[in-house]
């Protein structure tokens, strides 16, 4: 018997993948519906190992899905819902065409909705899974909460986003989970830590919504995403509130109750309401103990763990604990020109009390005249009426303090002062080859003197500990030159030494004679052998350079590209450092010129 010939692409990578067109055909869906279901179910194309085989020999680049993913979709009940929806849409269209507006209205009113609860559960089997994937969800929901009603974005969707985001922020406040904040030109970055997962999201600055051209942004797609994300965020909120012993849904201001007719209130009012809502405390579940503190971290003597690491972790936990109650007992007053939303959120997160001008916005809890206010946050160069009992600081102080995890000294942040740069807390300092601006270095290392002192840029460079490695590497790159230079230096030193011994002799002839005499006597004063100071390093470097040549052929390109990357990063750092130096020098020059000018003026005045 001749065995049956195996069909090509019936196994292996050819059978694993499916083009989008084939998927559409298999699922009997339109592209629009397919897109929607892909977004809801989290199906995405896959990159095959061998594209040619995966495409069953077809050329070009096609969107490929796993066949198993598509089969998985095939069993999704929502597909039937989508098909029903199509029929329903046809009914509406028919009613419109027949001018049966009453029926059409009824159809529109009773438009069926797709329930996607089970998809949330399916995509995120555990709560932690959902938290891990919350970044995009939050960012998009916060963006949508600023949207007006658009053609492709139903109003209740953006309303729901508003509600859910405020609820989430409340949960963060209640859990004291905020860790880092950053004011970027794109918006406010917040990083929270919930259940051991770090979640980062962006809240855009005010007036972020701008009409977009059709080819720039397709709101329909985003709306589909938000459909899923609202569902997910709702469940996450519920679980969070549940775990925090809070009542869900929380009773917030009227703007967030669902049956409000205030849909049409304008953006400002809405924002004011939102901020006011954030300033309220939530009702707790009865019987829950309020002061639930994390127990002290125990140290387990496990063998695999490095004791130093454990110590570090403990320190970190201590710091976080301190951070959580950083603003506790402090009263903040936000002046009217300051963007309130981020500040209220942050201050409340760290246990502070906050209020604002009662006349301008709703929800203020205390007045400006309150003497117990500790910090008055202003964002204007000067103020007429100032209270002696409080500090007037600029809003950046709050952000920087949070990132530094202590209350920073306010002298740089006083009203009208030129602010120090606002640094990103997200830069990983543990990585090598990271440029650390002098300000940050000064924060970490109190001995370090940044530009304020008389030190110039070169001193700054020398002071850096981290740089040493880079420099060493730099040396290793430079071929032999540095080495030669070192050798030369050493030579010179040796020569100088020997010279110094014979400095007293003046006449060269005499010297010669003396030398000969000495030679004749054949006894010379012993010159102490001077160890070459960099000898060891030079040797090591040479050895390393030789060893470098033994990198396996398989890895040689990788090694080269890694080296090139290192080189590039080093260059970037060098460039930043140079720019900083130039800038500092310029500032110093300007200062000097200013001083000189003042002096001259004073002289002239006195004269």
């Amino acid at each position: 018997m001749v065995s049956k010939k195996k069909k090509k692409y019936s196994s292996g990578e050819g059978a694993q993948f499916m083009t989008r067109k084939a998927a559409l055909k298999k699922l009997q869906l339109s592209l629009k519906d397919f897109r929607r279901i892909c977004i809801l179910k989290g199906i995405y194309p896959r990159e095959p190992r061998n594209r040619k085989r995966a495409q069953k020999g077809a050329g070009g680049i096609k969107t490929l899905y796993h066949t198993k993913d598509i089969k998985f979709l095939l069993h999704e009940p929502i597909i039937w819902k989508l098909r029903e929806l199509k029929v329903y849409q046809q009914k509406i269209r028919r009613a419109r065409a027949m001018r049966e507006y009453k029926t059409m209205k009824k159809y529109l009113r009773d438009h069926p909705q797709i329930n996607i609860d089970h998809i949330v559960k399916e995509r995120y089997p555990t709560f932690v899974d959902a938290l891990r994937d919350l970044d995009d969800c939050l960012t998009l929901c916060f963006l949508f909460s600023t949207f007006p009603s658009l053609k492709k974005v139903p109003r209740d969707q953006s309303m729901l986003c508003r509600r859910l985001t405020v609820e989430f922020m409340h949960a963060v406040i209640a859990a004291k989970a905020l860790r880092k904040v950053f004011v970027s030109i794109k918006g406010y970055y917040y990083q929270v830590e919930l259940e051991g997962q770090t979640i980062t999201w962006i809240v855009p600055h005010h007036f972020s919504f701008q009409p977009q051209s059709k080819d720039e942004v397709d709101f329909k797609i985003m709306s589909t995403f938000v459909d899923f994300y609202t569902m997910m965020l709702g469940f996450v909120n519920f679980k969070l509130y549940h775990s925090l012993n809070l009542v869900y849904p929380p009773k917030l201001t009227s703007a967030f109750s669902a049956d409000t007719d205030k849909d049409l209130i304008d953006e400002h009012v809405y924002v004011a309401e939102r901020i006011a809502a954030m300033n309220m405390s939530l009702s707790r579940v009865e019987g829950a103990n309020d002061a639930e503190e994390l127990p002290e971290m125990d140290i387990f003597n496990t063998e695999d763990e490095d004791p130093q690491k454990l110590e570090e972790a403990k320190l970190e936990a201590e710091k976080v604990k301190k951070l959580k109650t950083m603003f506790k007992g402090l009263k903040f007053f936000i002046n009217r020109e300051v963007p309130r939303e981020p500040l209220v959120f942050i201050i409340r997160c760290f246990g502070g009390e906050v209020s604002w001008d009662r006349d301008h916005f709703v929800g203020a809890t205390f007045d400006e005249s309150d003497e117990s206010i500790a910090y008055h946050i202003v964002d204007r160069p000067s103020m007429d009426k100032q209270y002696l009992s409080r500090y007037y600081v600029q809003p950046q102080w709050v952000f920087d303090s949070v990132n530094a995890r202590t209350l920073l000294p306010i002298n740089q942040y006083l009203m009208g002062a030129v602010l120090p740069p606002h640094l990103s807390p997200f830069v990983d300092k543990t990585k090598d080859q990271v440029y650390i601006p002098p300000e940050e270095r000064a924060l970490n290392d109190p001995d370090f003197k940044p530009l304020d002192g008389n030190e110039s840029g070169t001193d700054i460079e020398e002071a850096s500990d981290e740089d040493k490695d880079d420099e060493e590497e730099a040396d290793s790159e430079e071929d032999g030159d540095a080495e030669a230079a070192l050798a030369k230096q050493y030579q010179q030193e040796v020569e100088e030494d020997s010279d110094s011994d014979e400095d007293d002799s003046v006449d060269p002839e005499k010297k010669k004679l003396a030398k000969e005499k000495k030679k004749a006597m054949a006894v010379t004063t012993g010159v102490p052998h001077k160890e070459h100071p960099y000898q060891k390093e030079i040797e090591d470097k040479q050895a390393f350079r030789l060893r470098e040549k033994l990198v396996r052929k398989k890895h040689r390109n990788l090694y080269k590209s890694m080296k090139a990357g290192q080189e590039k990063r080093k260059k970037e750092i060098w460039l930043l450092r140079k720019k900083r130096r130039l800038h500092d020098e310029k500032v110093k020059e300007d200062k000097k010129a200013e001083k000189r000018k003042q002096k001259v003026q004073a002289l002239e005045a006195s004269a």
């Binding site: 897109r35 995405y44 194309p45 896959r46 990159e47 095959p48 969107t63 998985f72 009113r109 949330v120 559960k121 399916e122 089997p125 555990t126 959902a130 891990r132 970044d135 995009d136 960012t139 950053f182 004011v183 030109i185 794109k186 918006g187 600055h205 007036f207 972020s208 919504f209 942004v217 397709d218 985003m222 995403f225 609202t230 709702g234 469940f235 909120n237 519920f238 679980k239 549940h242 049956d259 300051v338 963007p339 964002d379 600029q394 950046q396 740069p421 606002h422 640094l423 997200f426 050895a543 030789l546 060893r547 470098e548 040549k549 033994l550 090694y559 450092r577 720019k579 900083r580 800038h583």
Partner: protein, 845 residues
């Protein structure tokens, strides 16, 4: 009163502006003001007008139709303005507000009319008739304003006809009464037109026509000469029809042609007046025809729930209106019961329910158990990578070094077409304060792109390297731990005048022999660098051009003081001379070599004989140190001794199958081990302990067993062109160097593939050498570095050799693209000797 009359009146009142505005405005305003009552006096006036016009018509019997119209319009109004007003006032006072009484009212009016024109019997009849008509027509029109305006259209159409009818009704008395005044006005206003009127040949009969056919399609009369019947039942003849020429002529002559229309009922031409045109214009534009009509007058709610002091209507409310309806009560009761029972719901409740249903309900999706984690899900799910977190450059107030300077800004602008090549996706900007930070305009777009990435971008697991570059560099012991090895140059041996091609130590390491292009073989003392002896072997017998020494090699046997030197085609075996070797050894060597050993039974075949000849050494050569001389058919390139010192293997350049020749000194015999050429032989070496020979051709090294006379192994070097090789003293490892910058280590126990390929040099590698005692080897070539490496070979078969490059030694300057030509290790000390291209020997220790 017929509606056409009111229309007529309006038209008239419009045209009267110049003459008697006061008189007209009163009726006009009353007309527009509120409905029914006001129309009545107007109509009455219209009646009067009609009578007036008839007077005039009688007077001007032969006037043209259109002309007549004009005249009539102009004249009649002016003359009867006063009368109208009087009438208006009297009527207004007498009128009632209720519309129901309108008809009566009108009848009365018509009665009045009759009184006015009571002088003739005929006219009496007529007017009564007309009054009845008008009343019938008026009743519907008087009901509301809207209906009134609607009906103005038909009114206008029928106006002319009725007018003519009215004319026929005129009486002689009225003519008499008014003739004078009309004439006067006519003469005053339009004397010329009057003249024209008479000139036209039309009869006045045509004008006072009125058909009684009723509302029948007029095309029924198409085939008859008449178009209907007048009131007396006489036929009304169709006026003469004009053909196109007539039309055209008329168009040319008549300035009013454009506003002349034909009345389908009578077939007469009617000229539209200015007011008519205005009316038409307003209708076309969709306005209310009456220009004085106010659409936005305040609405007075007469019938409201307010209880007025006086009732609007004259009868009391019905009892029903005070008592609650029983049936309604029952109905309501039923509904209330249904609501109570929950059978029905209010609309509000329904809407609420619908809203509730629509609202998303959240619950504890992830229950407390979380056990069913083994749910079905995506196969091999790849979570989407997170967005990169922002750096300092993205800050609203970044450190100054992150802001783009002028140069970077220029580059930024240059890349505006290809923004993805830019350094950042955003322009770092500094804002002095937080409130000055604007919205980021690409925010929505970026979110959208992220969404696209999430559902559209193909995902694949990509292994991220967690290693650093240094991890790729093999971990080797530090050179400091692998001492001793030569680190510095200690001696230079100068004396040669050309390239030093070759060097070698004597077996004890005390002396050095070197040979170079200057044709000399020199013997040096290795510890001092003193040249002990110079043998000029390259001068040749003919005393011609000298031949360089290609290779020197000290014989390994201590009992026999001989060194081989390859000079051109000859291989010379030299005695190093007195003082270099012990005299005893030298003597013995001389004695051994003085006389040729007896020829044995082995015959030398012709092939070998043609390849190499044992020459007799001439006495003068003997004196110079030559003990044995062999002449080959090709230049000798390589010489190597067997470990015992009895055999010398010689490699000839371009020797093909006879490239390798083995000479046995004791028997003075030569052998050609290979019968066929396997490539271009570079060099050949004896195995130190076993009867093997290594033959390096251009790309491969072959190992032959000399006893079994077979190929043992073929080593694939992977190099393009082998230059030299060296065998490890243990015999199991081979180092091959090549012109393409490689040193290739073979572990013969392991495989025929290279164990390791070292690329330590920047140029061709010309020489490699193993130390006999220390685990050291060195390689050198055309670059200026000599690399000393640690090459440890373990006795344990499981452990692979350890190769560690230890040190780069600087060789002399390069001459003629060459630098180091040969390397040799001291047999006992870790000293390295290099034959350099700058005619020196360098010793490193």
């Amino acid at each position: 009163m017929p509606p056409f009359r009111s229309g007529l009146l309006k038209r008239k009142s419009g045209s009267k502006e110049t003459k008697s505005s006061t008189t007209e405005k009163a009726p006009d305003q009353s007309d527009e003001g509120s409905g029914d009552e006001d129309l009545i006096p107007g109509e009455l006036n219209g009646e009067d007008d009609a009578t007036d016009s008839e007077h005039e018509d009688e007077g001007a019997a032969t006037s043209d139709q259109e002309q007549d119209e004009v005249l009539f319009d102009d004249s009649a109004d002016s003359t009867f303005g006063d009368d109208e007003q009087v009438d208006n006032e009297s009527e207004a006072s007498s009128e009632l507000t209720d519309s129901e009484e309108e008809s009566d009212d009108e009848n009365e009016e018509s009665g009045d009319e009759n009184d006015d024109s009571s002088e003739s019997v005929k006219s009496d009849e007529e007017s009564v008739d007309s009054g009845a008509e008008s009343a019938a027509a008026q009743t519907p029109s008087g009901v509301s304003d809207a209906s009134d305006t609607e009906k103005k259209n038909p009114k206008q159409k029928s106006r002319k006809v009725k007018q003519s009818k009215a004319k026929s009704e005129t009486t002689e008395a009225s003519i008499d009464r008014l003739a004078d005044t009309i004439r006067q006005t006519n003469v005053k206003t339009q004397p010329v037109e009057q003249k024209d009127e008479y000139e036209s040949g039309d009869t006045s009969d045509e004008e006072d026509r009125r058909t009684t056919v009723g509302d029948v399609p007029m095309w029924w009369y198409n085939e008859y000469p008449h178009v209907g019947y007048d009131l007396d039942g006489r036929r009304l003849l169709r006026p003469p029809q004009r053909d196109h020429i007539d039309d055209f002529l008329k168009k040319c002559e008549d300035p009013d042609f454009w506003r002349t229309v034909r009345d389908p009922n009578t077939g007469q031409d009617v000229v539209l007046s200015k007011q008519d045109l205005e009316l038409i214009r307003r209708l076309r534009e969709g306005h209310v025809p009456d220009p004085t009509h106010d659409e936005y007058q305040p609405w007075i709610e007469w019938f409201s729930r307010e209880v007025m002091a006086t009732p609007l209507r004259a009868f009391p409310e019905h009892k029903r209106s005070f008592l609650p309806s029983r049936s309604e009560q029952q109905q309501i009761g039923r509904i209330v019961h249904a609501l109570k029972m929950g059978w029905t719901k209010t609309r509000k409740q329904l809407a609420e329910e619908r809203r509730k249903k629509r609202e998303k309900k959240f619950y504890n999706l992830w229950g407390s158990t979380e056990a069913d984690a083994a749910q079905r899900g995506l196969q091999r799910h790849i979570p989407a990578p997170r967005r990169a977190l922002p750096g300092h450059a993205e800050s609203y107030n970044p450190p100054p070094e992150y802001l783009l300077d002028k140069h970077e800004m220029k580059e930024w602008d240059k890349l505006s077409e290809t923004p993805w090549k830019r350094k950042y996706t955003f322009l770092p900007t500094r804002h002095a304060s937080l409130r000055a930070v604007p919205a980021y305009e690409r925010f929505t777009r970026e979110r959208f792109l992220r969404c696209l990435d999430l559902y559209l971008a193909p995902r694949a697991i990509k292994m991220r390297l967690t290693i650093t570059a240094n991890d790729l560099v093999p971990k080797l012991p530090s050179p400091r731990d692998l001492q001793p090895f030569p680190t510095t140059e200690v001696l230079q041996f100068k004396g040669h005048t050309g390239l030093v091609r070759s060097v070698d130590f004597d077996p004890s390491g005390q002396y050095i022999v070197s040979g170079g292009d200057d044709g000399t073989v020199r013997v040096w003392e290795s510890s001092t660098g003193r040249c002990l002896r110079t043998l000029r072997v390259g001068e040749g017998e003919a005393g011609g051009e000298g031949v360089g020494v290609a290779r020197v090699a000290w014989g390994p046997s201590e009992a026999l003081a001989l060194l081989g030197a390859a000079v051109g085609r000859r291989l010379l075996l030299l005695a190093p001379g007195a003082g270099v070797v012990p005299a005893r050894v030298a003597d013995r060597t001389d004695r051994l070599l003085e006389a040729a050993p007896p020829q044995h039974d082995v015959t030398v075949d012709a092939r070998t004989a043609s390849c190499a000849q044992w020459q007799h050494v001439a006495p003068h050569e003997w004196a110079r140190g030559v003990r044995l001389a062999l002449l080959h058919f090709k230049p000798v390139t390589h010489v190597s001794w067997h470990a015992r010192g009895d055999y010398v293997c010689v490699t000839l350049a371009e020797g093909a199958s006879r490239a390798v020749v083995v000479h046995q000194l004791s028997r003075r015999r030569s052998q050609l081990p290979f019968s066929r050429a396997k490539g271009l032989v570079q060099c050949a070496l004896f195995h130190p302990t076993r009867p093997l020979i290594f033959v390096a051709t251009q790309r491969v090294v072959r190992v032959y067993d000399l006893v079994k006379q077979e190929l043992v192994r073929k080593l694939l070097t992977g190099a393009q062109w082998i230059s030299n090789m060296a065998v490890h003293p243990g015999g199991d490892n081979l180092l091959v160097c090549s012109y393409d910058r490689k040193c290739i280590w073979f572990d013969l126990e392991l495989s025929s593939k290279p164990y390791q390929t070292l690329r330590l040099h920047g140029g061709a590698v010309r020489s490699v050498a193993f130390h006999r005692r220390y685990p050291l080897f060195a390689s050198a070539g055309d670059d200026t570095n000599i690399v000393v490496s640690h090459g440890m070979v373990y006795n344990d078969l499981l452990q692979n050799p350890l190769l560690v490059p230890l040190k780069q030694l600087r060789a002399g300057p390069r001459g003629a693209e060459l630098c180091v030509l040969e390397l040799r290790w001291h047999p006992a000390q870790p000293w390295l000797l290099a034959a350099c291209a700058d005619s020196t020997l360098r010793l490193y220790a």
